[in-house]
Symmetry: C2
Subunit: 409 residues, 2 copies
């Protein structure tokens, strides 16, 4: 039996995470199913940025690097992220973009395996991961070996320095076995680097429990840091002393304000930094992370699965024969998103947006819907299902205004 | 004769740039002589960020990548910078930190001279420039050759791929001969890359007039973009088709939203991009750049020189025998800053800050004062001289609270 609105309201009344909805500002009437692409605006962010700009910058000026602890922000924000991904506070630092961070961190990993010449990843990984690894391997004269998941184990020969995978697939939502694949990589002498962009903040991540070596992730999806927020890097403590990365800027120096001519790496993850911290972006990210205060990631995962299962049931009913699931049907194997394949996927997503249900499109034919337990209710998802049914029943995706593609991130 | 307050007021009354002071918010009573380290807050920035956060992000959410033209920001902000540095709009793009940008752009330059193995710079260059070049040369197996300015010409052999210099020296304020050094480098077959962090927005820069190949620069000094603002990269159009850089992220891809597995570089300077644009930081930088609307850089330079000369005259009188100029005495050879050497430089700067005159200290003994014509008056500089005299007369730097060093950027 497909759940009813009454069922959903009853679940909302008992929802242990219902209190976090008040931490976000969302447009009236919109069902936002794209927090996996750009997280919603926390209530506190605008006030924090106004204070940062008007008081810390405008009044404190240069003195705020010390007085407002701007210099400490990469480590302080990193420590907050560490709590969400199963790492120690001193193993995570926030900076730069996810792509730049992947370059630096993969290079740092490779510095620990100088005698090995191969990096392994999988086809269909989030494209920037593959592009960055292509650029890094070309620069260092290494080989990038891209193998489908079922062939990964055989690909992990004793020539492999590093395995780079995304924990939750951006399009299909499939969850990789982080512990198992890390162990397989390490058994061959390789290191494992995980991209957490589509998992951190959406489900429990236990980097140290999985003995992961390195991780990167995105600040503007489930972490609610705002458009183009800084990303982050995690390096297991056992690698800190030996790892080296090539973007050796002054903020990663052991004594940045001595202004000496020769680079010497700072201790710990600080050596992963390069340029001056992006203070305004880091402040917005810090506010986004505060949305998780008092929240158990186990509770987030449980609600996320229930929201996803509810949406699948409603979509199955709404779409009838057109229903075509493009993500794992097993909720345990799926991240916090549901993907549906549709021959008019782009136009369908546009028609839904017009109806106030915001998901997104991923080429060639995937309509993708993200479920963010901090600000979505069961009744919201019920309403999304109702609107999807109306769009399907009226075949609204056939409208001419949806025929043209625009860039959508 | 040292100028009087009446002289200064008369000059202010005739100052063609006096109108731009109203574009900035400065603390009451503070004479801010550190805009060369962190530019002051433009009046419009807080409002712009509030609108960006509350309306574009909070209401527009993911749709704002298109609807609010977030994707276009790196190019749009770059085009605005181009007008200040003698480049074409399509030759400049804003992104990342200055340090990350230098890595990418130096690598792009080196991709054009694959048969040459040496990079040349000068000792005492802004440290991050040397650190980044050290990291890049180590990664690529190249040699970094650091030569004093008078030995640069001899160092430019036919093995040199790239000359990297900072246009205005961060500590001494010395201005390099961009046209002459670029021509010398190019005569040997090398390329020239200029760091404009301490010149753009402070004096006229004419990259194309000097036939420069590449340039990077900082967004948070004279460009008033806020703490940790994105930097920028300039590549002369003649290099666009052939240049390659290794941080090949999705935003530098020819078709980022096709989500293909293989990297293909975008046209023009867009291929210098890597990760998702830092939208909030770029918006603040854009507001900073608007401070230059209707402003002639020739007028900025003329006023900057007059402010600097005035300060030197006042400091000479205030300091007597302790006066020790650590920057070129010839105003034409000096950027928009005045550096004074003092055995108790750190404590002197602290005592001045306490007196409401904010300069900064650069190891080991330099007190550095920046002059930003958009928001400083002649009367401000007169008042700074008066307070400097009081600090000197009373030897306030001997106070115990100034004996301990803290980090100052």
């Amino acid at each position: 039996m497909t759940p009813t609105l009454a069922d959903c309201r009853a679940w909302d009344a008992e929802d242990s995470l219902a209190f976090t909805r008040a931490r976000f500002r969302l447009p009236e009437g919109m069902i936002y199913l794209d927090g996996n692409s750009l997280g919603a605006l926390p209530m506190a962010t605008a006030g924090r940025l106004a204070d940062l700009v008007e008081r810390e910058w405008g009044q404190g000026l240069i003195g705020s690097w010390n007085d407002a602890a701007w210099m400490a922000m990469p480590a302080r924000v990193g420590a907050r992220i560490a709590g969400l991904i199963g790492a120690e506070a001193d193993e995570v630092i926030a900076a730069d973009s996810t792509s730049v961070n992947l370059y630096k961190l993969a290079a740092a990993a490779l510095s620990l395996r100088p005698e090995r010449r191969v990096v392994v990843s999988e086809p269909g990984n989030f494209p920037t991961d593959l592009y960055v690894l292509q650029g890094l391997c070309a620069a260092l004269g290494l080989e990038l070996c891209v193998k489908a998941p079922e062939a990964l184990e055989n690909a992990l020969t004793d020539e492999v320095a590093l395995l780079v995978l995304t924990h939750v697939h951006y399009k299909s939502g499939r969850v990789h076995d982080m512990a198992g694949l890390t162990a397989t990589a390490q058994a061959s002498g390789a290191l494992a680097l995980w991209d957490l962009s589509h998992s951190a903040g959406a489900l429990p991540v236990d980097l140290n429990g999985c003995n992961a070596d390195f991780a990167v992730g995105c600040g503007y999806k489930y972490l609610n840091g705002g458009p183009g927020a800084p990303g982050y890097m995690m390096a297991a403590r056992r690698h800190h002393a030996a790892m080296r990365q090539p973007l050796t800027g002054w903020i990663g120096h052991a004594a940045p304000f001595a202004f000496g001519d020769d680079y010497a790496p700072a201790d710990g993850v600080t050596r992963l930094l390069t340029g001056t911290p992006a203070v305004i972006g880091l402040a917005a990210l810090e506010e986004g992370l505060k949305s998780f205060e008092g929240v158990s990631m186990a509770a987030v995962r449980e609600k996320s699965i229930r929201l996803g299962e509810l949406f699948i049931a409603l979509a199955r009913e709404a779409m009838g024969e057109a229903f075509d699931l493009a993500c794992p049907a097993d909720a345990q194997a799926r991240g916090s998103q549901v993907s549906l394949r549709h021959p008019h996927g782009y136009a369908l997503v546009q028609a839904l947006i017009e109806a106030g249900v915001v998901g997104d499109f991923r080429a060639p034919d995937i309509a993708r819907f993200g479920f963010t337990p901090l600000y979505l209710s069961f009744a919201d998802v019920f309403e999304a299902g109702r609107r999807l049914k109306a769009v399907m029943d009226e075949e609204r995706w056939t409208a001419p205004r949806f025929s043209e593609r625009r860039a959508v991130t």
